[in-house]
Symmetry: C2
Subunit: 372 residues, 2 copies
Amino acid sequence: MTVFTLEAHDGTARAGKLHTAHGDIETPVFMPVGTQAAVKAVSPDELIACDVHILLANAYHLYLRPGAQTIEAAGGLHRFMAWERAILTDSGGFQVFSLARLSRVDDDGYHFASHLDGSRHTFSPESVVALQEALGSDIAMVLDECAPAGIEESQARAAAERTLRWAERARRAVRRQDQLTFAIAQGSVFEPLRRLQCRALAGLDFPGYAIGGLWIGEPRPQSNAMVAVCCEELPQHKPRYLMGVGTPEDIVDSIALGADMFDSVYPTRCARHALALTSRGRLNLRNALHARDVRPLDESCGCLACARFSRAYIAHCFRAGEMLAARLVSIHNIAFLVGLARSARQAILAGGFTVWRERRLAEFADASAKDK
Amino acid sequence: MTVFTLEAHDGTARAGKLHTAHGDIETPVFMPVGTQAAVKAVSPDELIACDVHILLANAYHLYLRPGAQTIEAAGGLHRFMAWERAILTDSGGFQVFSLARLSRVDDDGYHFASHLDGSRHTFSPESVVALQEALGSDIAMVLDECAPAGIEESQARAAAERTLRWAERARRAVRRQDQLTFAIAQGSVFEPLRRLQCRALAGLDFPGYAIGGLWIGEPRPQSNAMVAVCCEELPQHKPRYLMGVGTPEDIVDSIALGADMFDSVYPTRCARHALALTSRGRLNLRNALHARDVRPLDESCGCLACARFSRAYIAHCFRAGEMLAARLVSIHNIAFLVGLARSARQAILAGGFTVWRERRLAEFADASAKDK
């Protein structure tokens, strides 16, 4: 089965189609995040109305609560969360690092205590494959060791080498034929490490590859340089998922460098802080200037929120503490980022990506200043 | 224009149709509450899917925030909150009493300080009519003086007499022809006061009448006795709105006594506390027995939540702190109470209300015990 069809190039930017057991995904694509099997404040029907074709869930979180057995008993993750389109599960390596009380990481895997109840667990490359096969996601991520920002090169090399050994073990542990396993390239901000890692992982012939260990605190020019390096080394005919990105600006820039898939809690987290992403920049709905503005959040948007509700109403709901406010802005922000990636795709297919990119970034930056 | 068509009696229970500027309302009817122009956690589309034809908003809250001018500028309350069906606004007398720092009540009205910012305001019978005309609701309530539970008869009489004087003034202040003004019967738990009040208000020929000042702390048999007394005295061919009710049991009992319209935050407040109302009793979704239950909340329910989601998923969302949980149960609970009133209506039209009532209450009480 072909996993990924590369449809067009425009410079290093790419348009393609990723084939999953729950439908084809046109790339570039933004994937909203439902860490605990729910995209915060948004229902599956609303995600479909946002033109979402793939979302994320997190294997670490679901392993701890409600547990893989509960989800298997419910008929798998798709049925459990009432989502019939594609799901990518992150392995949880990053969450073990950032949330759990990690007691030890060695070649066996992570030995950690749950952030919920302190109970002790181990994640190995093999157990994390089995976990995601039990959940039944369409795309599973291997267990990786994500080196923190600001690390020495020797430590970054050790983490990248372990990530490679774990990827080999994960590859051998795969049983399900209807799940695509993606390897994760580490190497921190060190170009030689990134190149070595990408080449070595390419040799393992995974269905797809992720670029990990970035957007975790390092300077933005370094992140972009590493994305460019990884995109040079990773196989052209495989999908490339840039983990944890992000903002409209970072998505557009990373598409330019050759990344295909993006995920972030940014649109829903912004929404809970009353921040709407629009084609004319960010709007802070708590700003008094919106209190009587009868226009929608974005006059060029056709989402559920913009079709029915004014800035004045949403601003009122934020002030009144009504949870409808975060929901409406979450819907809008997801629709905005999904639409941004889709618009980039059209520009790439038409060969006009460079002009499109400059225009979108200029519009966005110009108008953002007005709402400060 | 006929305001209310009485379609059938079954004992003292009634089925009718209330005609408003935003559609006909079949009674008995349960009206969900959107105090601040939003039903907590639920969108207008979801309310329509719950078969809601009328909802409440609160004039006191909307007067303070966002202010009548903002709502008028948005084209009125219906457009502001994107709700095209009927709206009843409560006058806010009860909220001034329970929320505001009330400095004085005299024949002019209420003099109070906002619970939001301490600013000073006065509500008079006339200003509250004008306020609700500015909001543009379909049904407006007069300003009343709600005597607290446990009051002496002399104080209850004074409050009822003031309520009557205010009702006369409100009647004269009405300007809009497309808004129905309902008077409110007070009189606490004193039968002679209730009878006098209802007869006097009936003489003023309001389009509809509310029974107020009950379900505020008095014993339930007294509440029921007062509802029965008011229903004897109020005109047969006018709608009767029992304010602040409530639970499934109280709604069914009050329909039996002759009340037509009900409102309460009960279904949405319960939902935020993980309590689902079902035909087989209440379910506490935090109870461990639901954690792997793949059944819907109510197997006889066709609401948006029951059509797609299991108890296990909703229970997980409550534990995970996902706001989708409160939303799904709010939708279900509203659909349940709206459906309960509609089912009562069918039983009344068919002449089988007594049997229906006994069966529903027995089912509900029997199964409730199981979830403790």
